[in-house]
């Protein structure tokens, strides 16, 4: 039986701090080149525009 005073074998991952920022997403972004990060932003904008256009049509 595990001793509750022993540290866990793997530290629990806490990707969010008290501010709520998801650090895993920042790490994901930092693994990209600046050009790829710009593409992520552009894809977000494109998807938002497309969704807005679809809503305008309804």
């Amino acid at each position: 039986m595990d001793d509750p005073l022993d540290p866990p074998l793997e530290a629990p991952d806490h990707p969010h701090d008290s501010s709520g920022v998801d650090v895993t997403l920042i790490r994901w972004m930092l693994d990209m080149t600046p050009a790829e990060r710009l593409q992520v932003l552009q894809s977000f904008v494109d998807a938002t525009w497309k969704a807005r256009g679809a809503n305008d049509e309804t």
């Binding site: 920042i26 972004m29 930092l30 600046p34 050009a35 977000f44 904008v45």
Partner: protein, 166 residues
């Protein structure tokens, strides 16, 4: 409203040889911050030759003041020589041309705090570093700027961690 195309905006400014620094949301995202934005913010050099190049780029971009779109008011040399913000609409979306940011920080003040980056198509741009972005937002102290601070601070912290000991 025109859909933003950040790559095209940056490419045209660079093709015209404009000396500028990318600040704001796009600058932060280029350095890993998980924010979103719909406009491009730049601070330009107020050297007269650079203002002439910027005017040419803005002509190519069909830029006009977005506050009164029906009037299609165009920025002039005098506007671009002022430390104020010029809030423009272009054929590639909103572009904020800033004479200064924070407490009067101009292009030449920001230049030592920038990094050069390559984006698509070999376009090279200068981006304000996260340390200075944070300092500027703390100086401004508006609600929207303060809200972005946790994202910028975490991006800076993770970026330093990734780089390792200097």
């Amino acid at each position: 409203m025109t859909k933003p195309d950040f790559g095209s905006l940056l490419r045209i400014l660079a093709e015209h040889g404009v000396d500028f620094v990318v600040v704001g949301g796009v600058g932060a995202i280029l350095q890993g911050a998980t924010l979103s934005t719909f406009d491009l913010d730049i601070v330009h050099s107020m050297d007269p030759a650079n203002i002439a190049r910027l005017l040419a780029a803005l002509g190519d971009l069909d830029a006009y003041y977005r506050a009164q779109p029906e009037k299609r008011l165009r920025p002039t040399q005098t506007h671009l020589a002022s430390p104020e913000r010029q809030l423009l609409m272009t054929r590639f979306g909103p572009l904020d041309v800033l004479g200064s940011i924070g407490k009067g920080r101009r292009y030449q003040d920001l230049l030592p705090h920038t990094a050069e980056m390559t984006i698509g198509g070999g376009t090279r741009i200068r981006v304000l570093d996260l340390e200075t972005q944070i300092a500027v937002k703390e100086e401004i102290g508006q609600e929207k700027d303060l809200a972005a601070l946790p994202f910028l601070r975490h991006a800076l912290e993770e970026s330093r961690r990734k780089r390792g000991p200097q």
